[in-house]
């Protein structure tokens, strides 16, 4: 047993340059307290996975420090692996393992005591509603169930830092909810949880604080409400365009817009609400749009404003 550890996770000025020029992370500084669920949001390629790979010791920062309490995770990658558990974005190597066995063995490898690991394994299987697949090998599981088994492997004997890279990919809405409960529990036990995602709607509900990362830089940080505060005087007007319709000419009161597929999302000022409704109905009237929705801005709108991207998967909404 090593020394007793309480302490926050700190990344200070973490910079990662690939091939001498590509700055995947640019002077990222953040801290996460034990018990906190911390979201790392950003478009694909923003540098989120690069950051967490440096935490776990798979990559070495070009500059900067990463510490947990008294431990320097960059200098001591073996300690980093002991202190952090990591669910990568890629699939887990469990094709030949039965569900229960994969979770149990990982708990043992992480240093958990046999009986306690067994108990915790059974609880996770129960809590995530995986009982039907308890003795089924990974090769026969669907992508979403595999993802839940992977989450269980990472959290059966959690590290002080638990890194979850897109944990809900392919997971059905019902079990997503169960998974978020378990993520919460990790926080209650004192793990600092890093939730890496590009799914803003989900993150909004699951995290205590979050950072938005774009082009390798941390461009905003705070609680979901504090980040939304700046956008409180705005509204979101969403138009479902008729398939194949071109984006209509936007009236001057539209402050910002993004189009993904047939979905046109715009930001408008509160005082322009009535003009906006009239304009939206006009678009339906002339056959450009099929329906519209007007509502308060969400974290997604903040995200769009800051990154210029739409979060690509709205999940359970």
């Amino acid at each position: 047993m090593g020394p007793i550890l309480d302490g926050s996770f700190r990344a200070e000025g973490v910079t990662k340059v690939f091939n001498g020029s590509l700055r995947a992370n640019d002077a990222i500084t953040l801290h996460v307290e034990p018990g906190e669920v911390y979201g790392l949001l950003g478009p694909n390629g923003a540098g989120k996975s690069t950051l967490v790979k440096q935490v776990i010791g798979l990559l070495k920062p070009t500059e900067g420090r990463i510490t947990l309490g008294p431990y320097d995770l960059v200098d001591d990658p073996a300690m980093a692996r002991q202190l952090c558990s990591y669910l990568p974005q890629a699939q887990m190597p469990i094709d030949a393992f039965k569900t229960r066995e994969a979770i149990r063995l990982t708990g043992r490898i992480r240093g958990g005591d046999g009986a306690a690991v067994d108990r915790r394994t059974d609880e996770l299987i129960e809590a995530l509603d995986l009982s039907v697949w308890r003795d089924v090998i990974g090769a026969k599981l669907s992508g979403g169930v595999k993802r839940l088994v992977g989450f269980s492997m990472v959290s059966v004997w959690p590290g002080r830092v638990v890194i979850l890279d897109e944990p809900t990919n392919d997971v059905d809405p019902l079990r997503r909810r169960l998974l978020w409960d378990e993520v919460r529990r990790l926080g209650e036990w004192g793990s600092a949880v890093f939730l890496v995602t590009h799914n803003v709607m989900e993150a909004e509900k699951a995290v205590d604080r979050l950072a938005i990362i774009a082009d390798g830089r941390l461009i905003a940080e705070g609680t979901p409400s504090s980040l939304k505060a700046q956008d409180r005087s705005f509204l979101r007007l969403q138009l479902m365009l008729v398939p194949s319709a071109a984006t209509p000419t936007l009236p001057p009161f539209v402050m910002h817009h993004t189009r993904v597929g047939h979905n046109l999302v715009t930001t408008i000022g509160q005082t322009d609400a009535s003009h906006a409704i009239a304009w939206a109905q006009e678009q339906i009237g002339c056959g450009v749009a099929e329906e519209y929705a007007l509502g308060a801005t969400t974290l997604e709108d903040v995200y769009i404003r800051l990154t210029g991207h739409v979060s690509s998967d709205d999940g359970e909404g």
Binding site: G2, G57, L58, K60, A96, I109, W189
Partner: protein, 259 residues
């Protein structure tokens, strides 16, 4: 009743090397459960194939040839899992994207390597034994097995496994790993004096073979199974051991490397 794991104010668990080695051996065995029986069967069949097949080259196989082939096949049985299956598995893990997860487990590189060596040995030994039994039955060879067979078998399997392990981890591109492993096996089968004495090679190839571990693996294994057939046994142990250390060092460096 839910577990209440409390992390704050508790010590950081530091599993021992032994714990890491044992749990990783369990992991590797479970992970190979679909392939392991097949590997063992293929190894046994290939061992039998060599022992019996080479006999068909001759109307009446000379005693010396039978002895060289039968003892050489044991070496092939001992190194092929480490040299082929290891790199193949790692290449598969890299292509499937699961390699990073395995690298992020809190397991010392030497414990992970030791676990894989154990599994490779388990997969190799049955075939080695069967090959010897078949040779004894078919050619009436009576082997004089000495205790030195134990270090010879362990060192041969270890060096083969570690060279494969180095190939798996020191080369980033999985396709290249596969290609090199396959070429190496081709070289070992065809151009290494394992099944025949080095004196039958052209001098330039014999010189190359002398610096490589394979001829010496055959020498030390043969020394444990026969008397008066081979010489220079101490030197051969040294050369195989040096290659084992080189393989281990390259692997350790590669596994600990951070881009």
């Amino acid at each position: 009743m839910a577990s209440a794991i409390r992390l704050e104010g508790t010590a950081v668990p530091r599993p021992t090397w032994r714990h890491a080695y044992l749990t990783m051996t369990g992991w590797d065995l479970a992970g190979l459960r679909l392939e392991l029986p097949l590997i063992v069967v293929v190894q046994i069949l290939s061992g039998i194939g060599f022992v019996l097949g080479i006999g068909l080259f001759f109307q009446r196989i000379p005693a010396q040839v039978a002895l060289y082939v039968s003892t050489g096949v044991v070496v092939l049985n001992l190194i092929l899992v480490g040299l082929i299956v290891g790199p193949q598995n790692t290449a598969d893990q890299k292509l499937a994207g699961t390699y990073e997860y395995l690298r992020a487990l809190p397991v010392p590189a030497t414990a992970a390597a030791g676990a894989w060596f154990t599994v490779a040995l388990i997969a190799s030994l049955p075939a080695a034994v069967v090959s010897l039994v078949i040779a004894e039955l078919r050619y009436g060879i009576s082997f004089t097995i000495t205790p030195s067979i134990v270090p010879a078998v362990l060192l041969t399997a270890f060096t083969g496994t570690m060279l494969g392990y180095a190939l798996s981890h020191a080369i980033d591109d999985p396709m290249r790993t596969r290609l090199i492993a396959q070429m190496l096996v081709f070289f070992v089968f065809g151009f290494s004096p394992i099944l025949y004495p080095a004196s039958q090679q052209p001098p330039w190839l014999a010189t190359i073979s002398w610096w490589l571990p394979f001829e010496h693996m055959a020498t030390i294994v043969r020394a444990g199974l026969t008397t008066g057939v081979v010489s220079g046994i101490g030197r051969s142990y040294l050369i195989v051991a040096i290659w084992g250390i080189v393989g281990t060092a390259l692997s350790a460096r590669a596994v600990g490397r951070r881009a």
